[in-house]
Every structure is written in C-alpha cells, then in structure tokens.
C-alpha cells in the first residue's frame, strides 16, 4: 500500500465508537521491547541496526501480526510522509526525526502499529476508539506473546523488560487515554484534574505525547511508572480514574448550560458558522473550532454532523494530510486556504 492511498480516510480509532466516546477519543497501549544479543540503539553500529530491523520486519510479516500489514521504511521516506504518519499516530515524533535504518509496520485498520528502531528495538502500539482498555490490552498482549515466542526479548526477573531508558523498564508499558475536555478547560477546573491525576502517578500531556502543547482541549492521560506493578494493575488504576474525569467534564458542561447558556450556545454556533464559511483557517484555530462544535454535538445542540466526521477532521486538516490530499507541497498560507475549503466541502456534503 502507498501512503497516498491512506490520505482521504482515517484509522478505525477515529470512528467515535466505544464506551464514553463523547469524551474519550481513544485508548492506546504501547509496549517497549528489545532483542537480546544486540546493544540498544544509541550504542548499535550500522550493521547491528540493520540486522535488528530486518529480523523484526521479517518476524512481524511472517507471523501476520496485523491484517494486511504495510511496511514503511522511514530511512527512505520523505519529510511529508513521515509527518503524515506522525499525524495519524502510527509513529512517534522521535521515530520520524530519528536516523538510520528504521521503519513501521501497521495493519489496514491502523489499530496495530509496530515501530522498529525507535528509542527501543521495538515499540508495539494498539489504539482503539473510545474507552476500551480491556480490548486494547487483549490485542497487544496477544501480539506480544506471538513475538515473544519467536524472538528473544531482553528481560531480567528483577527489572522486567529491559529498555534503553530506565523510565520504561519493567512492563515497558505506557497506557494513554485521549480525552476531549472543553468544559473543564473553559471553567479552569482542568488544573484540579492535573493535580489529582499527578498524585496517582499519572501524567497529562498534549495531543502528540511527550512535551507537546495542549490544543483543541485534547488531553492524554498516561502512566508515569512502568515497574513494580503488573500490567493489569496499571490498567486498573487508569480504568478507575477515567470515569471520574469524564463525569467531572459532564458536570462542568451541565454547569455551563445552566449558568451561561446563551454565551455557550453563541460560542458553539459561531464556531460552526466559521467552519462552514471561513476562507482561511490556521491549524491552531481549527482545533479550537472543532473542539467547540464537537461539544455542541455532544450537548445535542448541533444535530446534522457526526462525531466521527469531527474526529476525522482533527487529523485530516493537519499540515501533512492537506499536502498529501493536494498532492504537492504547500506553504502555511496555502494550507490555510486548502484547510478551509476542505472543511467546507466536508460539512456541506452532509
């Protein structure tokens, strides 16, 4: 499959299905693994890097790890293609910006992705729509078992799975739940969530992970610790926290409706109007507009647009997606025009 074939659809995790999908966009789990007998990547020479890449690629393809697997060699991919894969959450920013022999294998539905030679030899990722940690864990556990039977993962019974960075050692697991929290953001109660979540050893991050800015009221909640608790225990901590945050967000929405209904509705309808009428929209602005409209749909104010469409627009209007769609490189002013016209087309077609 070619990357351009992907550009006008999106992965299944944006379908807006699953539990609590009005607030929970996606549930994601990743596992970090390394192969014994090879140094970690910062110490690997070209030959070792190449060997690890080819061993992992062949094992993944041979065992049909995901349905209709595609493999992209990132060492040969263009800058736009790499950014495109980051925007789709198929690879990390670090993986895109890395050097040398490395790649990504992913299934057709884009639920499963396997990053080869990222920070560790292998990063397995499974992402699903809505609050679906159990299914997500079952899928990734099974993939990890198949690969673990066919590869020798670096492991010690004291420290667990050995990783290049000691922050990941142990289970090698990071669970991230992406939440849409516009009302908590508007009422400034989001700070309280940050504090409460921090006490449980969890962290809040922006849309694209480590060190990224919060935009479009989208937040990722993930575990900080990976050692000393089993995978099930880590999952159950997050499993118990998320419903508290979503009900908090629902309360904040109710309060907004009760206390400032006119302002809230005005803001939502203005945002919808802008999306349908604007001729230029920056990537920053569109996140805010989509966020408002998404809340409008959740509150039952706007009825002629699907959550799936809005979820997809968060990704389809990102810079690399617009360039893929247009088939050429665009500067930021050109992108703003194309972005606005693309959104109008999607919303008018309803």
């Amino acid at each position: 499959m070619e990357i351009k074939d992907l550009s006008d659809n999106t992965g299944e995790w944006l379908r807006g299905t699953g539990k609590e999908s009005d607030i929970v966009i996606s549930s994601r789990i990743r596992l970090a693994r390394n192969i014994t007998g090879y140094p970690f990547l910062s110490r690997a020479n070209l030959k070792q890097r190449k060997e690890v890449e080819s061993l992992l690629r062949k094992t993944i393809i041979e065992h049909n790890i995901a349905r209709d697997v595609s493999y992209v060699n990132l060492n040969q991919a263009t800058a736009v293609d790499k950014l495109f894969l980051v925007e789709r959450h198929l690879i990390s920013k670090e993986h895109a910006e890395g050097e040398g022999e490395r790649g990504v294998a992913f299934g057709k539905s884009e639920t499963v992705s396997l990053m080869i030679n990222e920070e560790d030899h292998l990063r397995i990722q499974v992402i699903r729509s809505g609050f679906e940690l159990k299914n997500t864990w079952n899928t990734i556990d099974e993939i990890d078992n198949i690969l673990g039977e066919n590869l020798n993962f670096a492991f010690s019974s004291r420290f667990g799975f050995l990783t290049a960075c000691p922050t990941n050692v142990g289970t090698g697991m990071r669970v991230s739940v992406m939440l849409h929290l516009p009302a908590l953001g508007m009422t400034k109660h989001i700070e309280k969530v940050f504090n409460a979540v921090g006490k449980l050893g969890l962290v809040v991050r922006g849309l694209y992970g480590e060190g990224t800015k919060v935009s479009g009221d989208l937040y990722q909640i993930s575990n900080q610790f990976a050692l000393g608790k089993s995978e099930k225990e880590i999952l159950s901590i997050i499993e118990s926290v998320i419903p508290r945050i979503t009900s908090y967000e629902r309360m904040a929405r109710k309060a907004l409706v009760m206390e400032s209904k006119d302002q809230l509705e005005d803001r939502i309808w203005r945002s919808y109007g802008m999306l349908k009428a604007a001729r230029m929209i920056t990537s920053e602005e569109i996140l805010q507009l989509l966020s408002q409209v998404r809340m409008g749909v959740n509150l039952g104010l706007i009825e002629d647009i699907e959550i799936q469409t809005l979820n997809e627009l968060f990704v389809l209007t990102l810079p690399a997606h617009l360039q893929k769609l247009q088939g050429c490189e665009l500067d930021s002013a050109q992108r703003n025009v194309i972005r606005a016209s693309y959104v109008r087309k999607r919303l008018e077609g309803l």
Partner: protein, 166 residues
C-alpha cells in the same frame, strides 16, 4: 512601547512565537506576560524527570563514576549525561547507580508483570512467586486473612520446586 494586552503598562517582555513557520513578535508588560505564558501548562517530559532524578542521587555517582560496561562500552557518566543506556548488560554493571534512580522513578525496583512468552519455566515461576508475595502483603495489610492463607499455601506449593531469592 505599550503592552499589547492591557495597552497601559510599558512592554518589557518580548516573545517570538513561531506558528507554522511564521514568526510573530509579541510585546507584553510583566503582569500580562505571566498570564500568557501560564496559558500553556507544559507537563515535564519523562526525560526531564529522569535528568532531575539523576541529579538528585549524587552519592552513588562518585562510586560509579569509573564504571564502564564491558559489553557496549558505555560509561556511567555518559549515561548520566544522555539518560539512555547502551545495552541490557548496563542494568547489571550500573546496578548500584540505577537502583536508587529506578526506585524513585517507579516507586519500586522489582518487576511483577508479564514474563516473555519463551522465558524458561524457572523465570516464570520466580516471577509468579514475586507477584504472589506482593498480593500476600496486600492481603495482610487489608486484614483479609482468608485470602492471605490461600496465597500462603500457593506460595509454599510453588516454592517447593524453585530456588528462592534473587
């Protein structure tokens, strides 16, 4: 120049914003600048936390400063400055320096989770014992003695066949 936000006080803080390759100069007074920069809470990344933790555990450093891994050639000092290990062996070679770091980072230094699918029966059993002991402690803490007795029996049963200790 006046502050672009309140338009009253003198602008003393000058920010350069780069959004989509476009540079934008912004000028604020001290008070407004605080609001603007607080607007984007930035959680510390795991690597920031790691660096700050590495800097906190200095007593071990002196002892470890000469240690170098015979397998990958990484020195402990290089690990300190880069925050990344060079090979699985480093966890043994730098154990003394890593232990306090890992303890602070994860609140524990004993793995209790999954074991690789092809790990030997001994390792599987060993980790199962570790998990059971942890559950036993928790059961005792919660004064759930029935559960504790059940776990104790399981531990006896398992440990009869396996060499104990780490």
């Amino acid at each position: 120049m006046k502050c672009e936000s309140c338009n009253k006080k003198l602008a003393t803080v000058h920010l350069t914003e780069i959004i989509e390759n476009e540079k934008k100069e912004r000028h604020f007074c001290e008070d407004c600048a605080q609001n603007v920069t607080n607007h984007f809470p930035k959680a510390p990344s795991p690597s920031d936390i790691l660096t700050s933790l590495i800097n906190q555990v200095s007593p071990e450093i002196r002892e470890m400063s000469k240690a170098t891994c015979p397998v990958c050639g990484l020195s402990y000092l290089e690990f300190r400055s880069q925050g990344r290990l060079g090979c699985p062996m480093d966890y043994i070679v730098f154990k003394k320096g890593l232990l306090p770091l890992i303890e602070r980072m994860h609140g524990s230094s004993q793995h209790v989770g999954k074991v690789p699918a092809n790990a030997g029966a001994e390792i599987v059993k060993k980790n199962e014992l570790i998990q059971l002991r942890k559950e036993l402690n928790e059961a005792v803490e919660r004064e759930n003695y029935e559960k504790a007795a059940e776990l104790r029996d399981k531990i006896y049963e398992l440990s009869g066949n396996v060499e104990d200790g780490d």
